[in-house]
């Protein structure tokens, strides 16, 4: 009964066997493909911790059926950059030390990465609006805004 679903993940062709095509993409990425970037926070599309890009758009993978990812281009935090070759946002988050526990940070960076595609020189309040549906409990918000701003400047 199980079904194979293939997609391009972080630039590489990958596939997963699933019993239930309705299973959220998050579980395929974390459990079948062993990724740590996308995180489980609510499973309700309320917090943003699970954010990945599907065809360049920020998507909440905790409610996105894996079947819908078939044939799509997926990007996760791991594909954005590495400690050795960080993306401008990852670099800016390190420079601003914009992490406390870091559990929300995947969502912050992936949401911001999609946002910066549409607005290259955002103001602080535009950044805050863009991240308004991403929750952080540690209270790292001020640093996160500074990091996104810094990244946008470095990417200009």
């Amino acid at each position: 009964m199980s079904k194979t679903i293939s997609f391009v993940l972080n630039g590489r062709q990958r596939s997963v066997q699933v019993d239930d095509p309705e299973m959220p993409l998050l579980y395929a990425l974390r459990n079948d493909l062993g990724l740590h970037g996308p995180r489980f926070g609510c499973g309700l599309a309320q917090c943003g911790a699970c954010t990945v890009h599907v065809e360049g758009k920020a998507v909440r993978s905790c409610t996105f059926p894996v079947a819908q990812a078939a044939g799509a281009k997926l990007l996760t935090l791991e594909g954005l950059g590495t400690p050795e070759r960080p993306h401008a946002l990852q670099k800016a988050f390190i420079e601003e030390q914009a992490v406390q526990c870091g559990y929300c940070i995947n969502g912050m960076i992936m949401q911001a990465a999609a946002f910066l595609q549409t607005n290259r020189r955002p103001t602080d309040s535009q950044i805050k609006e863009a991240l308004a549906d991403n929750l952080c409990r540690c209270g790292t918000h001020a640093r996160i805004v500074r990091a996104v701003k810094r990244a946008s400047e470095s990417m200009a």
């Binding site: 970037g37 995180r39 988050f93 526990c101 559990y103 308004a132 409990r137 540690c138 209270g139 805004v145």
Partner: protein
């Protein structure tokens, strides 16, 4: 027990050889340091080798019972150890919260990691360094006073020897010397510097292994099926529907504890909703609308006077001016972004439990009791999870996993759902405080009385494990934390009586949320003091300063006054527009013995909607010697933002059976557009002892906001949270 369609033998058959891949757990991987060569490592807290090992390559391993809850303490502890030993930070590895390897330094709570844990490690490192200097003197034939340590080398008179050579993979078999001389802070090159956090590069690139990422070979996934009413009992159940789900393995039931187990996580989630269960009815929660009547009517187990000076009753009776007020603080959840998670494995009669517990040693005790095992047969390991600000659900998830793992014979991972976390984490209990105060003819406070109604503290500081409760297994009573702290006041008032009515019951399993008690009690204290200042016609800033005798507190307040450019105010601004602006001040000396914090809040109140907006917080902070100023600022930001959220928004919802605010919509928290600007002035005192900073700032946030609202619109908000409805009602009254 297991359901019949899959027997225990089948479970075991499919599991094969159980090899736990420790390498997946970073902490456990570090822990691989040599237990075989050297026999069991001591975890004694009075021995250097309890805390520190140096290997033949000069790598220093530090064993810390205190863990990093997302606050950056791993980096700070590494700084402390590297500094005191005189080695580069890259040469120091940290193993934390592993009951097999690390000393029991008490739970990671109370802002004590640096001040107690770090200071113990510093002393162990100093003892080691001194002993190594002795050995080096002998070996090199150079007098002690000619030797100096740098980068793990001891040098003098043109000769040198490395730590590695002196220790050579042997243990530092030394008693910890509480008098070993500490490095002079003026020679510090690592402590006091804004060293970048060690974990951040991995956390922003998806390489970090959180508890929720941990995989143990052969692991299966479980979900606990929670009763719809908190104390309902399980009457009947059937998993017939679950059997349709590919990957479903079976169910475990013990008393009212019911869990489903599956090969993969999604199957476990589906099984948890497919299982049919009949529960008894239970409606024992108090009516939320009458919570404070309920609290006031609860049986008092014990009264305790927490602060007593002069004769407050007589002074109140004689006073020309008397004030009374009641303050209350809602029930709150911890609200970690990542729900609790744990993995447990039984093998050869031994239990290993991985979790993000802030107290692995205490957890081990509780698991031993619940499962009727010897503590010696249990190992609890800390793996960092989502930010944890007190005793949340981590320990409960570990107990769930342990209970299930014992039945299924394979490593079991339990991931709590969002509803589990919001609904079942232990809560910050409701807090109610009555105040009475008197002014003398000069407007000074002549008497102060406070009475707090708070849940009692059993002997042991532990919180009941949900699994033990549901399964009717041996358990501890829930301790709410030291929630009486912060009721005593730091001001020079001649007649004071601060007391607690310890209540025998409270609606929800209580525990310590961030800044337990100090946050709620300081809310009442610092607001009521503001009321007295207003009644005296005094500027609230000046009023505090004039009643403070502590020179360090006074210095802090002067720095705050400058930072915020405070201008005196003796009555509300009274501007009539729709948006009214105000500022309020608040001060604390944490538990009257440590960290000082003073804040000024700038707020805007919308008279029409009742919405309070916090524009800005000015913070002056003195926690003695600062280990890492950037880490400290990060913590202060976190304290402010989290507590603004608590003050303005958060309020647990429930009906007579259960918590109903079980997601982020029904229990919202502060979002980016509402986050205030934060301006910080750090008082650094390198020659003083370091104190904690994970909590103190939170204590002064609610009162500063309330006092600012008064300054803006002239009304007192005495109930947290300050929702628009409450503000509108106060404005109308």
């Amino acid at each position: 027990m297991l359901t019949d369609q899959i027997s225990r033998r089948d479970f075991l058959k499919t599991s094969g050889a159980l090899v736990v891949t420790y390498a997946l757990a970073p902490k456990a991987a570090n822990a691989a340091i040599d237990p075989n060569d050297l026999g069991p490592k001591t975890v004694a807290a009075d021995r250097v080798d309890g805390f520190v090992a140096i290997d033949g390559k000069g790598v220093v391993t530090v064993y810390s019972g205190k863990v990093d809850l997302g606050t950056g303490t791993d980096t700070a502890l590494t700084q402390i150890a590297a500094e005191e030993l005189g080695v580069p930070m890259q040469r120091v590895k940290l193993v934390t919260g592993d009951t097999l390897l690390t000393p029991d330094q008490g739970p990671t709570f109370g802002s004590l990691t640096i001040q107690n844990g770090g200071v113990q490690i510093r002393q162990a490192c100093a003892t080691a360094r001194e002993a190594l200097l002795d050995r080096a003197a002998q070996k090199l034939g150079v007098s002690r006073s000619d030797l100096a340590v740098q980068d793990g080398w001891i040098r003098g008179n043109g000769k040198r020897v490395a730590y590695a050579e002196l220790v050579g993979d042997r243990r530092l078999e030394l008693k910890l010397d509480a008098k070993a001389p500490l490095k002079d802070p003026s020679d510090y090159t690592i402590v006091g510097k804004p060293v970048p956090r060690l974990d951040i590069p991995e956390k922003v690139t998806g390489r970090f292994t959180y508890m929720q990422d941990l995989k143990v070979k052969g692991m299966v996934h479980a979900r606990v099926v929670r009763p719809p009413a908190m104390r309902a009992t399980l009457e009947n159940w059937s998993d017939a529907q679950c059997k349709q789900i590919p990957g479903y393995l079976g169910a475990v039931r013990k008393g009212s504890f019911l869990a489903v187990v599956a090969h993969d996580e999604w199957a476990a989630i589906k099984a948890a909703s497919a299982i049919e269960a009949r529960w008894s009815k239970w409606e024992g929660l108090p009516d939320k609308a009458k919570l404070w009547d309920h609290v006031r009517a609860s049986r008092v187990a014990k009264d305790e006077v927490l602060q007593n000076a002069g004769d407050s009753a007589a002074a109140l009776g004689a006073a020309p001016k008397l004030l009374k007020a009641t303050y209350d603080f809602a029930v709150h959840t911890h609200g970690s972004i990542g729900p609790s998670c744990a993995v447990a494995e039984f093998k050869d009669g031994k239990l290993t439990a991985w979790s993000a517990s802030q107290a692995t040693h205490l957890l081990r005790k509780q698991l031993a009791r619940m499962l009727d095992m010897s503590e010696l047969n249990i190992r609890c390991l800390y793996v960092e999870g989502s930010g944890c600000y007190g005793r949340n659900g981590h320990e409960d998830a570990a107990a769930d996993a342990a209970l299930i793992a014992r039945e299924v014979g394979r490593p079991v991972r339990v991931q709590w759902s969002r509803a589990d976390e919001h609904g079942w984490d232990p809560k910050g209990p409701p807090t109610l405080i009555d105040y009475r105060g008197a002014l003398d003819a000069n407007g000074n406070v002549s008497a102060w009385e406070s009475e707090a109604f708070i849940p009692e503290r059993p002997g042991q500081i532990a919180v009941t494990l949900v699994a033990a409760d549901l399964a009717n297994l041996p358990k501890e009573a829930s301790h709410p934390g030291n929630i009486h702290q912060g009721l005593a006041i730091p001001y020079a008032v001649p007649n004071i009586r601060a007391s607690a009515h310890w209540l025998a019951e409270t609606p929800f399993r209580p525990s310590w949320i961030r800044t337990p008690g100090r946050m709620q009690n300081s809310f009442g204290n610092e607001c009521f003091l503001d009321e007295l200042a207003a009644a005296a016609g005094a500027d609230p800033f000046e009023y505090r300063v004039r009643n403070l005798k502590d020179p360090r507190g006074l210095e802090l307040m002067e720095r705050l006054r400058k930072l915020a450019a405070w201008t005196p105010r003796t009555a509300p601004a009274g501007d009539a527009g729709e948006i009214a602006k105000g500022r309020g001040v608040s001060y604390i000396k944490y538990e009257l013995v440590r960290t000082y914090v003073g804040v000024v809040a700038d707020v805007e109140v919308n008279r029409r909607t009742g919405k309070v907006r916090v524009e800005r917080f000015f913070v002056a902070h003195d926690c003695g010697q600062i280990i890492n100023p950037d880490g400290l600022r990060n913590q202060i930001d976190g304290n402010i933002i989290q507590t603004v959220s608590r003050t303005l928004i958060e309020d647990l919802q429930w009906n007579r059976s259960a918590v109903t605010s079980v997601d982020w919509q029904s229990y919202p928290i502060l979002r980016f557009p509402e986050v205030p600007e934060i301006v910080i002035d750090l008082v650094d005192r390198p020659k003083e002892r370091p104190w904690g900073a994970g909590e103190p700032t939170a204590a002064v946030v609610p009162s500063a906001i309330a006092n600012a609202v008064y300054d803006a619109v002239g009304v007192r908000l005495r109930s947290v949270p300050f929702t628009p409805e409450r503000v509108r009602a106060a404005l109308k009254a």
